[in-house]
Amino acid sequence: MRVIIFILMALPLAWFYVAMYWGFTITKDIAAFERGESMTLPVLPPIKWLNDRGALQTAFSTEEITTGRSVSTEITVPFAELLQDGEALPPVELKPLYATLRASAYLMPLCDEMLGTLALACEIGAFKASVRHPGDHRSLISRAEYPEDGLVILKGAIHYLPAYALGNPAIVPNADMNGARMRLLQGAQVPDTAAGRQEIFAEALALCDGLRDRFGNCVIRQISLDPGPPQRDDPDGSGTLRATASFNVLVDKTKYRRDGVQAALDEVATSRLAAIENPDDTRP
């Protein structure tokens, strides 16, 4: 009995030494890595990697489309556009179902536009379609005159597999997932066209590149495309877009404060703006 008790008590102690040694080897490996020595990365991940495993995988998986990376949008379409040629207008109660089941045709073009620099693959995530009619006061701000047959307001997200390099989050010691968020293009509006959206994607990618240069990794968690207010001088009536992006970076929490990534993002954006305004300035 006493022997069993001794073994049971000794187990945690033994584990303590194993864990200590494990931590020691990881620290040693990372030091070697930072010195630029060639080495094989530790097989066992840092403890924090285990803790945040789910969140990390949805952010940094390079193999799968995950719900952790998305471009969200809001699209308005006159209900009549949803119908096929000669198709009868359904009763008002049925319209939300029609809008829901036909939403993909209006969301997939965004997915196609993302392919290339931003995404290797993409698919539709959760979406919600609602239908507004004239005299319908559920929405206080009406961005457009509601057509007689109703206006479909479609809010949805496209999930994607990044085409850009994410960096290597596996080598970050004392890793902590840290986020930052920013209005893209200094809050400016771009035309709600394919070219306008490419401009937004390019800005988000450039900011993420800046963060990756500093921290070794970065992922664009979300780009949110919001329709801007109507413009008086809107030549083709396409409307405008404003965009917000949020980024995730895995950082060493012993080196950076909680708001360190946000501060870095602000700096990256400022220096990028300066570079655009003074293209001759070659300072890094």
Partner: protein, 456 residues
């Protein structure tokens, strides 16, 4: 303090320390001593006898309590590790989210089973489970009768076999012959009982026996189908997958045996849709039937007049306190709490939740009773058969000879109008499937396009 006192004090301190050290040594030896205490004397001093080895918890030796605690801590550690392992495994399975093209849609199609419907066109028409038959169960709001147990005016326990012959509980929800819709009364005035009419009333929280009759609106169906679509596309394991509009009528067999005069029958159900299957005993005259509920259906002996009030046409707010006021058209049939209700007993013990609930029932009943008294000229507690839930109700005494039980098979059910009135669960699934096809433009595959990839 002079020198002598200081020395005395120091000497005393030394003695105390020496004694302490000795005590500690003794305690330590005692703790690990297996041989009898007599062999463990120091300096010829006899040690006090050791406590029993299995004393546990008294600070000496490893008693079962202490060993148990150590084991619990170790088990917790092992469990913690196992939790992590499981979580990691789970993460993997979650991450391996199938691509759109390999969702069950594709799997079913590839299985070569042409008959299997597309997941977006797969529906489960919900049906409540029936409890063990022939029992009544005390609930917070009175008796809940399972199949075969009858709600009676005096609260006596009666089985349906005591009243009627030919009732077969093993035959579930026979299909009626046809449905005929009628418009509910759009004013809250009921036909007044004439002189000599005996007003009898049945008031249930809900009916318990499912039927094959369904009534639902387009709006209800659209809400269910949007929920179903989201589940089918993004969360096929969710209970919302296959959801249909809830509109099944539950049925109550009403056995009228009161021969004291022409019976003016008031049938009330607070929740759900109810199909009243009215049986008339020998010598019974039924003057009129008034129904109060949501969707109401009725099977009545030929020549009996009936009307229905839809609660939601007049009472729309069921928030706390909203139905306290006595007002016109307060037709929501609240029941008066009785001392045997478990909710009432809990309220009396000071449970605030049930105090509030019983307050609502009392106040709601007071307002309902005022309307009822005004509309029919009698107190709603007179001639009352009530229950929280039941599938059979007796109006009058237990008959001397049994009545012939009449099932729904082949009968005409008169039912308050709705966008969809259907017989059979298959018909419900078909209506939902047809709407899905129409609303998707005939191609449900296009609802969720496959993953797009950069072309190599």
């Amino acid at each position: 303090m002079d020198e002598q006192q200081k020395q005395d004090f120091a000497a005393r301190l030394q003695r105390i320390q020496a004694q302490k050290a000795e005590d500690a040594a003794e305690a330590m030896e005692a703790e690990f001593a297996l041989p009898p205490p007599s062999e463990n004397s120091t300096d010829g001093v006899q040690l006090p006898p050791l406590p029993p080895v299995n004393a546990g918890g008294d600070g000496s030796g490893f008693g079962p309590v202490r060993i148990g605690m150590i084991l619990i801590v170790l088990l917790a550690l092992v469990g913690y590790g196992a939790f992590y392992l499981l979580e990691m495994a789970d993460d993997k399975s979650l991450l391996a989210r199938p691509e759109a093209s390999t969702l069950p849609i594709g799997e079913i199609a590839q299985a070569g089973d042409i008959q299997a419907p597309h997941p977006l066109l797969t529906f489960v028409v919900a049906r409540d489970e029936l409890g063990a038959p022939g029992r009544r169960i005390a609930t917070d709001r009175g008796w809940e009768h399972t199949l075969g147990s009858v709600a009676t005016p005096d609260g006596a326990q009666v089985q349906v076999t005591d009243i009627a012959t030919g009732f077969d509980p093993s035959v579930p929800d026979e299909k009626p012959g046809k449905l005929a819709s009628f418009a509910p009364n759009d004013t809250c005035t009921l036909r007044r009982p004439t002189d000599g009419d005996v007003v009898r009333n049945v008031r249930f929280g809900h009916a318990t026996r499912p039927t094959q009759v369904h009534a639902f609106s387009d709006a209800g169906m659209v809400a269910a189908l949007i929920t179903h679509t989201n589940a089918a596309l993004f969360n096929p394991k969710s209970y919302e997958f296959g959801l249909t509009a809830r509109g099944r009528l539950n049925r109550v067999d009403v056995f009228v045996t009161d021969t004291s005069g022409p019976v003016y029958l008031v049938l009330q159900s607070m929740g759900g849709n109810t199909l009243w299957n009215v049986h008339r005993g020998p010598g019974v005259r039924i003057a009129h039937v008034a129904m109060i509920g949501n969707t109401s259906g009725i099977v009545v002996p030929q020549g009996v007049s009936f009307e229905a009030l839809r609660i939601t046409d007049f009472v729309t707010n069921f928030e706390f306190g909203s139905n306290d006021e006595i007002r016109p058209c307060m037709i929501a049939p609240y029941r008066l709490p009785k001392p045997f209700w478990e909710g009432q007993q809990k309220a009396q013990k000071g449970n605030t939740l049930f105090e509030n609930q019983m307050y609502t029932f009392n106040a709601g009943h007071r307002a309902f009773a005022a309307w009822y008294q005004d509309a029919l000229g009698v107190d709603p507690e007179t001639g009352l058969t009530e229950a929280e839930g039941a599938g059979h109700a007796l109006v009058g005494p237990v008959p001397a000879g049994p009545l012939g039980y009449r099932s729904l098979a082949g009968q005409t059910v008169y039912i308050t109008e709705a966008d969809h009135l259907l017989i059979g669960d298959d018909a419900v699934a078909t209506v939902h499937r047809d709407l899905m096809l129409a609303a998707s433009g005939g191609d449900v595959e296009a609802v969720l396009p496959p993953v797009r990839r950069v072309q190599p």
